[in-house]
Amino acid sequence: MSPVDRRSFLTRSAALLGAGGAGALVGGAGVADRALAANPTDDPGTGAGAAVAASNLATVEPFEGVHQAGILTPAPAHATFVVFDSFAPDRGTLAAALQALSRRAHELTAGGPVPLLEVDAPPPDSGILGPDNAPDALTVTIAFGASLFDSRYGLGGHRPLELTQMPTFSVDELVPAQSHGDVLVQICAQHRDTVVHTLRELVRTVRGTLQQRWTIDGFMGASRGPTQRSNPRNLFAFRDGTANPDPTDAALMRKLVWAGANEPAWAAGGTYQVVRIIRQHVEFWDRVGLLEQEKMIGRYRNTGAPLGGTNEFEEPRYDLDPHGYRIPLTAHIRLANPRTAATAGERILRRGFNYHRGFDEAGQLDQGLVFVAYNQSPARQFATIQNRLNNEPMIDYITPVGGGYFFAPAGARSSVDWVGSELFASV
């Protein structure tokens, strides 16, 4: 069979998935594709198109944009974080690898049929999602660590002002093998297999140039109400994200999330991304009285309301409780966000995921939070908050074991632009 024949199988359009639903996709499936033709369930009622429609696999989060996707985007059910170290011999090679990374991320987030080449060549896509890569609300967010700006690539003079290696906070027990690194890629989607597929494809894209240093998988609690707005729970069983600033408030995001005017010009539209792998000692937590748990957090476990309140989104009214009779002065929510005029500018946009990764050496569940925060200034925001939390009573039950500081540049402006292009153009 000639290569031309093979490539003719690619006529099914990627747009069919997004535009379509069942009818459009089934039309596509009529094209001579060996896998689908051989599929005995390939009929309009039960075929892949129906599955795509039923499970929102067709949802597209565009890769291109003023800002990268995966920052203000509502967090879907699954995530993987992977951090690479660069072994590119020079800046040009590094730029090419990053360009390829964006290109592949663009293809995967858009979705579409898997190209076929020579049958005797390894397929260009692992194919683990089948002959069509459904977009599944996939986002790929690319960010740079401080080490990328060291002497290797001549980027030092262009480093975002506050991009340093994440400092060691007094609560930390950072494991070097899961901390820091050159390039962070955050992969989020509605289904686990989409995330795993994307990881596999992207790692392949940069193989030989960027080497994976550490990775962690996260999941989001399902939306379990009582209302649409109710936040899911972390693995301490408390609702998480209640006091997050509203990501749809563009003016607020300019104040709290996007890089300030003092940053290098290429950094405009970007944000500092803090990732922390926070182990939660869940067996220990489960042996603590409920009241003590609630006092450590400052909220009721069931409703998520601040202590003394009834509604998750009720203000805790610290102004009426200056001595902490209702919400202890050391409660997590009170230290994290004192809700004063002076601390309003410290707020961060959190977008964390729960993790579970087996047992530790002592047979204890290795579970916790992949804490993710986007902020304009780690010094003014994240680090200030973290330093207030270093002595909170909850520290007995958590151990931050990894993570890092990264800078997520602006989004790609077009399908041929790539994340980081302005940095390399400015050198």
């Binding site: 060691t168 007094s170 027990e173 042996r287 003394g308 009720e314 009214r317 002592a362 047979g363």
Partner: protein, 350 residues
């Protein structure tokens, strides 16, 4: 106890979700769920003895399933204890801790001698002895001035800027690093001298250390919680791997706490006999480990898969039993959290 099979559907739903199916019938038969049961159903008696926390879970689900909307925690039936009653137990523990520090000073003297003589094996032995004595202080609550001394004596490099190269990293674990990674012994002498001074200082201030009744009762399970989190995980003993040894010291300290609390725990929810039984099981495991390793406790890395499971299992059982202690020793009724006045309620709009 009435044997009813007509448990409402809600009860079954709760229990099915939570527990293995074979247990369901036993539970629903044993207690209609109208009140918290205090004893195990006969069929579960053996299991309740082995895993008392499971019994309390079953009972809680029984109560909740019937009375929908009832408080999620059944109110404790025990009247609070007077806080004064903790004075004697805490004084006894402080005396015990002081004597351990005295022994530790002797071990540090041995350590200094072995370091000066260049005898690594003897220095490691003395280090183990000193570390063990220190861990037996488990119930001394580390706050304020004591926290600073504790950092100097037993601090880890993890939270220090610069990690193992931090000038604040000086105590037992700095010496551990040198002893187990082959550094020159003479370079460790200054750390041993500083350790001796810090321990002397701790011994001086120890009699004035105050522990709140709640904190003291909580240490009954927290000492071994720390052992699981920090020692058996290897986190605190990365170079020597002596987590099992440290755990044995945690058991000793926990037993001392329970011994001092014995008069207070008399007839309080049967907590003490159950905890003692679980600790006895755990001690039996320690003896088996010693027997399997030529009379000494293995390091974390020397545990076989089977031995690690055996130990982790016994620790889990002991911890679940010990976690019942603080609840049995409340010194006050559960405080009522004041309400936010209706007129002051403000909802954050999205």
């Amino acid at each position: 106890m009435a044997a009813k099979r007509t448990a409402p559907r809600a009860l079954l739903v709760f229990v099915v979700v939570a527990i293995a199916v074979p247990l369901i019938l036993l539970v629903t038969q044993a207690d209609g769920g109208h009140r918290a049961a205090v004893a195990a159903p006969p069929e579960l008696a053996v299991y309740a003895e082995r895993a008392p926390h499971v019994l309390s879970q079953l009972n809680a689900y029984g109560v909740q399933g019937v009375v929908r909307g009832a408080p999620s925690t059944p109110p404790s039936a025990l009247p609070p204890l007077s806080p004064d009653r903790f004075n004697v137990p805490e004084a006894e523990y402080r005396a015990f801790a002081g004597s351990q520090l005295g022994l530790m000073e002797g071990q540090i003297t041995d350590l200094e001698g072995a370091l000066a003589a260049g005898d690594r094996a003897a220095a490691q032995d003395a280090w183990r002895g000193a570390y063990s004595r220190y861990l037996e202080l488990g119930a001394v609550y580390l706050e304020g001035q004591i926290a600073t001394l504790n950092q100097a004596i037993d601090g880890n490099p993890g939270g220090l800027p610069g990690g193992i190269r931090s000038p604040q990293f000086t105590g037992l674990h700095r010496i551990e690093l040198g002893l187990w990674t082959g550094g020159p012994l003479s370079s460790l002498l200054p750390y041993a001298h500083k350790l001796a001074a810090d321990v002397r200082e701790l011994r001086r201030v120890l009699p004035s250390v105050q522990i709140s009744p709640l904190d003291y009762a909580t240490r009954a399970h927290e000492i071994l919680e720390d052992a699981v989190r920090d020692l058996l995980s290897g986190t605190d003993v990365p170079w020597s791997g002596e987590g099992v040894l440290g755990t044995e010291d945690g058991i000793l300290a926990t037993k001392e706490v329970l011994l001092t609390l014995k008069p207070l725990l008399f007839k309080r929810e049967n907590v003490l006999p159950v905890a003692n039984a679980q600790l006895a099981t755990l001690e039996g495991v320690m003896e088996r480990l010693k027997a399997a390793h030529g009379g000494r406790l293995p390091t974390n890395g020397e545990l076989t898969q089977e031995q690690a499971e055996l130990l982790d299992n016994a620790m889990g059982g002991a911890l679940e039993a010990l976690a019942q202690v603080p609840g049995a020793l409340e010194t006050a009724y559960t405080p009522v959290i004041p309400r936010i006045p209706r007129s002051a309620v403000r909802i954050d709009q999205p």
